[in-house]
Symmetry: C2
Subunit: 637 residues, 2 copies
């Protein structure tokens, strides 16, 4: 029996990585928010590897933080190891990777969500989505509770008609032994949404004591206490004492491993036809790798602790859905894992996802105003991609309540923008993972400047709190003071210390005077050197110094990219003349035409953000406007 | 496809409270042990209240500790509040209650189990039990892994064909949102075991911030840092600083609450016929209480934190399976809970259990040598009852491997004995809960002397490690030294300090000399007083002093009970003449006769412990022996 259980501004279904960010954002922006999830014991659970980040993904985490999201802080506070990747390359691809204690990550997020004002948590299975006159009106749980809201954000991850596959064994189930949601897919179908089927997989977990570490290479954490957040966070485990971090261990598969897999490939669900869903290309299973790269004699394996003092190790690189007996053989064929105790077998999970071309850039389902979808449900893979979408969906649901324009991050503003734009305008054919190569403006979208790019925008929508805003202002001031200092300081060629410092890094001697700025342009001069020459820099924090340094060193490239961005933005800002008659434009979709007529957008940017207007409609419109302009029919825009 | 996945001495199915003790005991006694459970994230999960103990249950925890079990240590280390109950009454019913941090309890036990030598952990669903020639030979998991072992201990709790009920909503599921085990019941049936159906329930959980505490009475912890273990444990949260403990809160239901329930009683699954299973009489639901005690205007409610800094509160006293909307109304009718946020609704769970008369006193299934069952699966209710059975099953499986006699605790030796004897010889008609009233020898079975009663027995079977054994020896020595001191010290009637101390507690003045022992016999003289008179007592620990004191004060009663026990034990030790011809005894069960002939027990005690010999067979045998003895046909036994 159905009963009315309360009215909210925003309801979020699912408290995974997407759902937590969505609910926190909406609540922090002042909306009465309800977060419903299957189990409170499983909030923000990391179903796969116990770490966040790496290229592009790490960038996302920084951007989430810059906007006032939660993931970065929780990752920092529960970190057991930090590593900056790609430091040999340019700053655009420097990428932080943080391993967290899985259990602590969950508990930290649980506490944050529980403690959030305006946010009510409730454990339940959502079975139905209610609409009224085509718009979302709320959800109904398995126990008959009807919660009303004009905005519903679905973030149900891999739970829709989840199916676990381990060799010949197949059964209904969610990830990590959870229940699965069998009703929601049908509901979405009934609402006219097109679903697809993907799969993903996870490696076995083994017991720490069962490893022969002498056959692995130790991988300690970095000697810098990196963090994701722009705010002053630190690990609950090692604080600032980098030597205390947990190490990981690097090993390799062998030809024997590969032979075991090849000999049993007919039993791999992936190849025996048991799995219909398409898997993630960038997180392939070991059987996938062995088949696709048949000539490779070995693949890397990382043993990663699942927690600060957990006995469980995650065997990164060995994702598999082979039968359990083959999993034993595969493990035991790896040098050092001869006696590995299998705590949990690897498995694959197949699940329904929402085809993302049906969404607008605000992550609202075009056909159903008020229904948002975010996270793995939209066909992505990865905690960071999920959280990023959750944050944006939460923000946009809140803005919708406030009657404001959607919040869209451009491709030139952040990886957040690249992610959403790819999903909506390109759609996905396999589980989508963000990569730096997907971004056009990599030199602009650095991890170090995520705050400079996005914190003002987060402040504008009310998500960046005073504390963060003040810290941000201070950093900005610091950067401009540093620039002023560098510009304003000239060193005489006779300065002995200068000569010494230059010699120490093999930098050419100077013959005329040289400014601090000119010095910093030299690639070999780092913050270290300039600080020796300008003791007054000591009062500035490392981050501001680094930022100012990068801005100088890469100024040329950065300007070039900014010019490109400008050109593209101009297109987007192109005005649409009031006298336009949409009925005269051939090739518009029926719904697009209708919505354009209703809204009468004043520029192309606004047109792209109208629910119901497809990317194809936008192309048609642009071509039409250009033709008319050339024909002199409209004034130049 | 089935594959061979290893051979063990003992396999334990289920890592709840029973399973963890069983596996630890078997492994600590040197058996190669495998513990298989549905989810490693759920080990030793407290599905209901976040606390252990109270009368009888607290005694069990002490006894588990005395034998070298784990529950007491884990409870102590994760405790957030301790209270000694019934301190106004005699020492026999003093009972400790400890609230634990639910999450920490799980993690602590997980770490212990993971770290245990000889113990392998594995996450899987056991679907089948294998037998060979009527004896257990192993188990098969859902993924086809066959684990071989001559001993299997089933501790699957409420998971067998679990069914969740919340008002009109009913669905298959395990407790706390877990999956349920649908196959095992059928397996047990096929093995010829008789199953029944019980139900149990749990109250709603609410958000800490949503309570008006001014309408509740605060319930702080005790000012003594009590602990369960006889070893020196302490809370990871408050150490010895008793002021830091978490408080609970006491409130009451109102006539309005009861009216809501009565008005909706037709929708209570318990009364609408939806629930077939029989519920626990001693943990009734609120609807049960309202119906059964219709004249009571209110019932107590305790708000208990689920953890040290958890925002979740357990609403003790409000266990219910009413529809969720009625749960809201019930909660909001309680003064102080008008605005309670419902985090998780209360629910009932129905499940299959094994009828316990089919077991021997070693918890082995009579019909199936090597198959043990323990915990809620045997029709009990409560963490402590489950753990106690698990411990005994683990011990007995290990002894079976070693070819030794089963380990049986007598009713006169411990609540452990009362529990098992009740289960096996009386059977259960409703979820069984241990109560002090079930014990005949309460004055002997005190919580303070659990170690004196059982630690030597635990040492004998190899479960009590050296550290615990040394501590125990020291305590025993201390007690006898204290007794010697008391006996050996005589106070002169002229001793002024004596007069003062006696006066301070209104104790009669002495006229002749008086020994320390005589003084201690006086009810009003406590350790406190005697310590003032005998400063040399300061070197003994409180526990030994208390113990010695109780031994003196209750010596008369204790001796009487000991005499009774002696009489009963004599019967049990009665020898069975070698010339007995079982075929001549009428009334023996077919199987019992067979087994008695096979084993030829030399005394009644041994006869009771033979798998296949029922309590009825024992009665028949006793009567027969008595008749023969009276008839002079056998020598006196
Ligand atoms: C087996 C496996 C392997 C993976 N491997 C990788 C990998 O190698 N690399 C990588 O980057 N990513 C991997 N991932 C992906 C990553 O774990 C997910 O992308 C990420 O967790 C998705 O976050 P989410 O918030 O979208 O969904 P989830 O974290 O899955 O959260 C979904 C939430 O919705 C709740 N929910 C679902 N249905 C309902 C309902 N009807 N009512 C109420 N609540 C509901 C659930 O309880 C859960 O809390 C893997 C995931 C799995 C399961
Ligand atoms: C809703 C509810 C309310 C309760 N209320 C009370 C109360 O008010 N008072 C009270 O004293 N007690 C109460 N209890 C009882 C108490 O929680 C249990 O008695 C205690 O947890 C039982 O311990 P156990 O070890 O027997 O089973 P559990 O703790 O339930 O553990 C069973 C274990 O077996 C595993 N398992 C099950 N099937 C399989 C399989 N096929 N393969 C592998 N693993 C399997 C599970 O994963 C689990 O780890 C309640 C329990 C529930 C569920």
């Amino acid at each position: 029996m159905e009963f009315f259980a309360g009215k909210y501004d925003v309801i979020v279904v699912g408290a995974g990585h997407a759902g937590c960010e969505a609910a926190l954002a909406a609540a922090r922006m002042g909306c009465q928010t309800l977060l419903i999830t299957l189990s409170l014991d499983n909030i923000a659970h990391m179903d796969c590897n116990p770490s966040l980040g790496g290229p592009a993904k790490g960038h996302l985490v920084r951007e989430i933080d810059a906007l006032g999201g939660q993931m970065a802080i929780t990752a920092d506070e529960t970190s057991i190891q930090v590593r900056m990747l790609n430091t040999g390359k340019g700053p655009a691809v420097h990428a932080l990777r943080i391993q967290s204690d899985k259990q602590a990550y969950h508990l930290n997020m649980l506490n944050v969500v529980m403690g959030q004002e305006n946010l009510i948590l409730h454990q339940a299975m959502v079975d139905r989505i209610k609409t009224e006159e085509g718009k979302v009106s709320g959800v109904v749980t398995r126990t008959g509770a009807f919660y009303a809201a004009p905005n519903v954000i679905l973030t149900s991850g891999t739970y829709l008609r989840g199916r676990i596959i381990i060799g010949d064994a197949m059964y209904d189930g969610g990830p990590s032994g959870q229940q699965t949601a069998m009703s929601l897919s049908g509901e979405l179908n009934a609402l006219g949404l097109e679903l697809g089927r993907f799969k993903t997989g996870t490696p076995p977990r083994i017991h720490r004591r069962s490893v022969d570490y002498s056959k692995f290479n130790i991988q300690p954490g970095d000697s810098v206490p990196w963090r994701y957040s722009f705010m002053p966070t630190q690990s609950m485990y090692w604080g600032q004492d980098v030597d205390k971090q947990c190490p990981c261990w690097l090993g390799y598969t062998t030809p024997e491993t590969h032979k075991i897999i090849q000999d049993n490939i007919h039993r791999a669900p992936l190849y025996s036809g048991k799995i219909e869903g398409i898997g993630p290309r960038y997180c392939p299973s070991i059987e996938d790798k062995v088949v696709r790269f048949a000539d490779r004699p070995s693949h890397q394996i990382f043993l990663e602790p699942e927690g600060w003092d957990s006995d469980e190790l995650y065997v990164a690189g060995l994702s598999t859905s082979m039968p359990e007996e083959i999993q034993y053989e595969i493990l035991h064929s790896v040098p050092g894992l001869e006696k590995a105790e299998l705590l949990r077998p690897g498995y694959a999970i197949e699940y329904d996802y929402v085809k993302s071309h049906q969404l607008s850039l605000s992550l609202e389902v075009r056909k159903i105003p008020g229904l948002f979808t975010a996270g793995q449900l939209n066909g992505t893979s990865g905690y960071e991609e999920a959280a990023a979408q959750g944050l944006l969906a939460g923000i946009n649901a809140a803005l919708r309540i406030q009657g404001k324009e959607p919040f869209i991050v451009r491709r030139s503003e952040g990886y957040l923008g690249v992610l959403i734009d790819d999903l909506v305008n390109k759609g996905v054919k396999e589980p989508y993972r963000l990569l730096t190569s997907r971004a056009e403006y990599r030199l602009i979208l650095r991890q170090d400047n995520a705050d400079l790019r996005l914190t003002p925008r987060g402040r504008e929508i009310g998500l960046v709190n005073d504390e963060r805003w003040e810290a941000f202002q201070k950093k900005k001031e610091a950067i401009s003071e540093i620039h002023a200092l560098w510009r304003g300081t000239t060193f005489s060629p006779l300065n002995e210390q200068l000569a010494e410092v230059l010699a120490s890094v093999n930098s050419a001697a100077v013959h005329g005077g040289i400014s601090g700025e000119e010095l910093m342009r030299r690639p070999e001069i780092t913050i270290n050197e300039i600080k020796q020459l300008m003791p007054q820099l000591a009062e500035y924090d490392e981050e501001s110094l680094l930022e100012a340094g990068i801005e100088i060193k890469y100024a040329g490239y950065i300007e070039k990219q900014l010019a490109e961005i400008e050109r593209f933005a101009k297109m987007e800002e192109r005005l649409i003349p009031e006298e336009i008659v949409y009925d005269q434009i051939k090739g518009l979709s029926t719904e697009g035409r209708l919505r354009l007529k209703e809204v009468s957008p004043s520029n192309m940017g606004q047109a792209t953000r109208i629910t119901g207007v497809t990317p194809a409609d936008i192309s048609v419109l642009l071509v039409y406007l250009e033709q008319k302009r050339r024909g002199g029919q409209f004034h130049a825009t």
